[in-house]
């Protein structure tokens, strides 16, 4: 799954989850193929992001799990404070979960 701002959406992409408006009304169901018309309507109704199936867009700033983990290690190099190490553990957990969800999908 990939969460994208409206300007990145293209007709033919499929919704991964429902799209809601600000009042919580469903504008579009799960697994629906987007059309030009629908994307235009999202703009009009003030939707900002839509989650689509797979990872159709390559985002140049996105890192792999390995890169994320090794950069995390580097940031915490030489840190012994147990509080800071707690935060590091939480971040590790976060990264594993984030990337697990992705692999599951694509």
């Amino acid at each position: 799954m990939q969460r994208l701002p409206l300007s990145y959406l293209k007709p033919g992409m499929k919704t991964y989850e429902e799209v809601y408006d600000a009042q919580g009304r469903v504008l579009c169901g799960k697994g629906v193929e987007l059309t030009e018309e629908m994307i235009k309507r999202f703009y009009e109704l003030g939707v900002s992001y839509v989650t689509v199936e797979g990872t159709p867009v390559k985002l140049p700033w996105e890192k792999s799990l390995e890169e994320e983990l090794s950069e995390l290690e580097k940031r915490f190099e030489g840190v012994n404070d147990e509080n800071l190490l707690q935060i590091k553990e939480i971040l590790k957990e976060l990264l594993y979960e984030k990337y697990k969800a992705r692999i599951h999908q694509s």
Partner: protein
Amino acid sequence: MKNIKQESINPDPSEKRKEVKKKLRKLEGLPTLPPIIQRLNQMIEDERTSLHQIAEIIEKDQVITTKILRLANSAFYGFPRKVSTVQQAMMLLGLNVLKILIMTSSIFEFIHKEDIGLWEHSIGVAACSKIIAEKIGAGDSQEIATAGLLHDLGRVIIMVVLKEDQPKILDLISEGVDPLSAEKRVLGIDHAEIGAFLMAQWNLPERLIEAVASHHNLENSKKYRKEASILHLSDLLVHARGYGKTLYESLPPFEVRALKYLGLGWGEIKEILFNLEPRLYELKFFTEELKKELSS
């Protein structure tokens, strides 16, 4: 001219401090506020002015309107719906925050151009501050998000107004001096104090000023220790996540007391980080867009 040169060879911190404050008072080197902003300021101060009137004036200025809407729509304020008019932004953000955004918009612009890493850091801290403020119910969370946005304002000022001192600070840091002491050694004052000093000059709310002034030293805060702690913790978490770039190569010094002041345990810290992640993801699109615009 000769005088200045000599000073840089043999700086006296307390003398330098006076000189820096004098410069800040005159705002040398900072882009001057366009007339419309001065006009708006008068209107905002004037109790009789209606929100509608203020919005009308702002909307006449394309540049400021664009800036306000862009900031209001960026993920650190986290509105579920697109903010498309100045009136809406005013309702959602409040006049106080709007005023700050207007007054500081030329500085934000400077941060984008000069130091996108610091800009990313600042909006990351804004988003995180908002999440923490909401979590602990610390009053106007929009205002705290704005404090987060401004917390390293002093760094920007050093880069703009005190340009010639910046290399000396960087030299000391590369020799292993920590960033705050390096600033103090070269300028006689650090970025937290500089930011707060300027915010006081602009008559921004006390709550924001004190939080910014003490974001690296909680002991300095009195009335607004919670707000200072929110900035302090957000600063650490955003560094720890590796979002943006500052003078701290890895992590800034952390005072664990911040957690106590905020009444937060590890379970809550985890929730905060998990809530922050999607915000940072969205913010990345925002800064990348800016980068593209700047390079085109």
